[in-house]
Amino acid sequence: MKFTIKMWRQEGPEIPGSFVEYSIDNVLPEMSFLEMLDNLNEEIIGRGEEPVAFDSDCREGICGMCGLVINGMAHGPKRACTTCELRMREFPDGAVITVEPFRAKGFPVIKDLVVDRGAFDRIIAAGGYVSVNTGSAPDGNAIPISKDIAEKAMDAAACIGCGACVAACPNASASLFTSAKISQLALLPQGHAERKQRALRMVEQMDREVFGNCSNHAECEAACPKSISIDNIARMRREYMKAMR
């Protein structure tokens, strides 16, 4: 297969970027999108030019490190799929593909396709935990948790923190990400002792970072590689309202 890639290139945070066109040949349909970029970079390095910077690590859809906007869609055209898992067979041979970083005020570009998602860590630091010191835990079976609740909590906990929700949202809101953690810990009995304080602090931290508000577009859910549901956002609002009282 053969493709034309319209690639976002940006030397640094303060330097304006622009699209540069590359063509690439000999792409196999079973190659992942990032393997295609690896090969393109080999050619670029071979020509003595600066390779395109992009993030990735696990390359199996679990670490949340990768993330590109492909043809205008966070993680590309396939539903419930990360950039690293996207295969080239999803694109027609000869296609022109646009590649950009996750764009949001809260995610400043570091270089080319690499962005700074440190805001997510700060949101978790504001309360996305149960305060239990090592060594002080009761027996694991001391608190029974119904299978149904455990599964719901797991659905929310499946978030990989990639930031696609923010990139897809017209307001660049981080509500889906924040609500997934609040939900997980609100569902589980272990999280109950701190639930009020957690909801307040995490929502406040989210607002302090430069993310927009949620206005129920649901683009986040559609872009989420783990299909995290926007029901979590509703739960976060309830938790927050309850905590305000």
Binding site: L34, P51, E60, A126, V132, A137, A153, M154, Q184
Partner: protein, 643 residues
């Protein structure tokens, strides 16, 4: 060559019966007073299960912790990718499990090449790990009655594996990460993301800090501390293609080796039996299909060589369920090394399937008939979906094709019972050390070991050392830090200045090829000698001919990989040397010259019941091997049998 030096290794195994060692040791450990802890700085490199748990727990205790990782967030450490589960001797299933049995299984699984005392401690703290994780909000799988669910895993006859769908590593790591971020919030842990440790700094022979490259600005930075904990993961990426994340590397451990930390059993690598077969040369990694699949999937190949009929056209009586045939007691659940080698043997003999002939079937047909599709979906849904996604084949309809791939490294920096390396004040945790798995790791025990080291061992043992080594006001102005920065800076500049005509990736691919072919699943004297000379040649060529893109002053992935590949080109040689010296087969190390008539690994306990710990003697000089002899006082040394 190199063996035979007088042993200078002291494992510091506590006195007493195996059941009492850890208890007694903890009781005798010196303590740092609560008010004094904040005066100590501890560096933790790595934010995986081992590093994350250590940093969080040390922070909780009151130490001033500096925590480093390569990724943009601690939550992305490679532990996140673990699928299948974590072992613990809870005996919740009432199926006869106990600390003793987990200890026994682990020693036997490791083919009698691990240190008994460490393994017993691991089994002992395993139960506390589950409690800790549950309390932190890890959503483990549950039964309808609300209790924790278990599954069984390769090499065990009890159900002791706890899991969270097929994402156990992710959930454990996120639990750990939460605890870590709480300490960050409280100001006790300071996080340094997108940093790569490139050197350890020694002052008077003691680890007092690290030199890192800031991966965003390119700056070379120094950090000082009272002790350094390395939890930087394994080195399977030396094979280029492996199940590990692309940033997994050996660099931190290797640089410590070159500063005096002995490297133990580098040749002990695990090739995991259930991975997707290789597709082409442009592939960047191999995907693991969790071992839990072997609970319900049956492994087979056609009985006829080169039979290329599609699997559903091959009648039952023309299929060879070779694991069930050769190992009736354990069947498809034999340990990984045995399953992998059996797959290789079948394929080498011409029975393999798929386009390359290097794959075997993992068939769920019977399980679907017996349990129904829904039950199978419930158990393995996400794995089936992943397989379907990558291969375009539906495993509900047709058997999976699998083949072994490099997955885990049992070898690593040598540590004593306290997890201290041969460098004073340098501790090594998790996959980066060598300690608990001997020559083969059983499934679901790496997560256990990482968390045991981080949550329970290091918080106890580090105090003993720190109590004796009071803070002395050392800062990064000390000459040792400047010297280390210069050394690192020179190496970076050198790599960029070569401007040759072969990319870093090409060299990585080539060294991986050598390792896979000669230092992989089957090893022999001739092949290993060839590997040593080939790697040497490739290394010389690398330093003359490598082409690294970009500059030193900003984010440059090509440069990051260049440093790591330079280290693989040295480590690979040490692995081959170690494999050459170990003239026996044990666990994942299979020397073709040493096998039983049935083709099983043949150990030589009289000469090789030891840890081989290698000491660096300088560039261009042969390393020296030191032995730590292994005593088996509780588990009787026996030829391993899974028949």
């Amino acid at each position: 060559m190199t063996a035979g030096a007088e042993s200078i290794l002291n494992a510091k195994i506590p006195e007493g019966s195996i059941q009492d060692k850890w208890k007694n040791h903890k009781a005798g450990i010196k303590l740092v007073a609560p008010a004094n802890k904040r005066k100590y700085t501890v560096i933790v490199v790595g934010t995986g299960l081992a590093g994350g748990a250590a940093a969080a727990s040390l922070g909780e205790l009151g130490y001033n912790v500096l925590n480093f990782c390569i990724q943009d967030s601690p939550r992305r450490a490679h532990s996140v990718a673990a699928q299948g589960g974590i072992n613990a001797a809870k005996n919740y299933q009432n199926d006869g499990d106990s600390v003793w049995r987990l200890f026994y299984d682990t020693v036997k699984g490791g083919d009698f090449r691990s240190r008994e005392a460490n393994v017993y401690r691991l089994a002992e703290v395993s139960a506390n790990i589950i409690d800790q994780c549950v309390a932190a909000g890890v959503p483990f799988a549950r039964e309808y009655g609300g209790t924790l669910a278990n599954r069984s895993f390769g090499g065990a006859q009890v159900s002791r594996t706890f899991y969270a769908r097929g994402q156990t590593g992710q959930q454990l790591l996120l639990g750990c990460y939460s605890a870590l971020m709480r300490q960050v919030d409280e100001g006790r842990v300071k996080l340094y993301t997108r940093r790569e440790m490139l050197d350890v700094v020694l002052v008077d022979g003691r680890a007092r800090g690290i030199t890192v490259r800031n991966l965003v600005t390119g700056e070379i930075e120094s950090y000082a501390a009272d002790a350094v904990c390395l939890a930087t993961g394994g080195y399977s990426t030396v094979f280029f293609l492996s199940t590990n994340a692309v940033n997994s590397n050996a660099t931190a451990a290797w640089r410590c080796y070159k500063k005096g930390a002995f490297f133990a059993n580098p040749c002990y690598t695990q090739i995991h039996p259930t991975c997707l077969p290789q597709m082409g040369e442009t592939q960047s990694k191999l995907t693991l299909m969790s071992e839990s699949l072997r609970n319900d999937g049956r492994v087979w190949v056609p009985k006829k060589k080169g039979d290329d009929r599609p699997p559903h056209q091959i009648p039952e009586k023309e299929r060879d369920y070779y694991l069930e045939r050769k190992y009736p007691a354990f069947g498809n659940l034999v340990p990984r090394d045995i399953a992998s080698r059996a797959a290789k043997a079948m394929c080498d003999d011409g029975f393999g399937v798929g386009p390359t002939g290097y794959a075997v079937y993992l068939d769920f047909g019977d399980a679907i008939k017996r349990l129904g599709k829904d039950m199978i979906r419930d158990r393995y849904g996400n794995l089936f979906a992943m397989y379907h996604e990558i291969t375009d084949d539906d495993p509900y309809q047709t058997p999976m094709k699998i083949y072994p791939a490099p997955h885990y490294t049992m070898g690593g920096l040598w540590v004593d019972y306290n997890l201290m390396s041969t460098i004073q004040g340098l501790y090594v945790l998790g996959e980066a050390n060598f300690s608990d798995h001997g020559a083969n790791r059983l499934g679901a025990s790496a997560l256990m070991q990482g968390l045991a080291d981080g949550y329970f061992v290091i918080p106890a043992t580090i105090g003993d050392f720190l109590a004796e080594h009071r803070p002395d006001g050392l800062t990064t102005d000390h000459d040792a830090f400047r010297a280390s920065r210069n050394e690192v800076d020179d190496a970076v500049k050198k790599l960029l200045s070569i401007k040759g005509n072969k990319t870093v990736r090409q060299y990585w691919w080539e060294v991986g090829r050598i390792m896979w072919n000669q230092v992989g699943m089957g090893r022999n004297e001739k092949g290993l000698q060839q590997a040593i000379s080939d790697i040497k040649g490739l290394r010389e060529d690398y330093w003359k001919n490598v082409k690294v893109g970009g500059s030193a002053e900003d984010l440059n992935k090509s440069l990051e990989f260049a440093g790591r590949v330079a280290d693989f080109l040295e480590l690979g040689e040490l692995m081959a040397r170690d494999a050459l010296g170990r003239e026996e087969s044990c666990g994942g190390h299979f020397r073709e010259e040493h096998q039983t008539p049935e083709g099983e690994a043949l150990r030589h306990d009289d000469t090789f019941c030891h840890v081989a710990a290698w000491e660096f003697k300088g560039a261009g000089k042969d390393p020296v091997m030191h032995k730590e002899s292994l005593e088996f006082e509780n588990v009787h040394l026996a030829q391993r049998s899974y028949k």
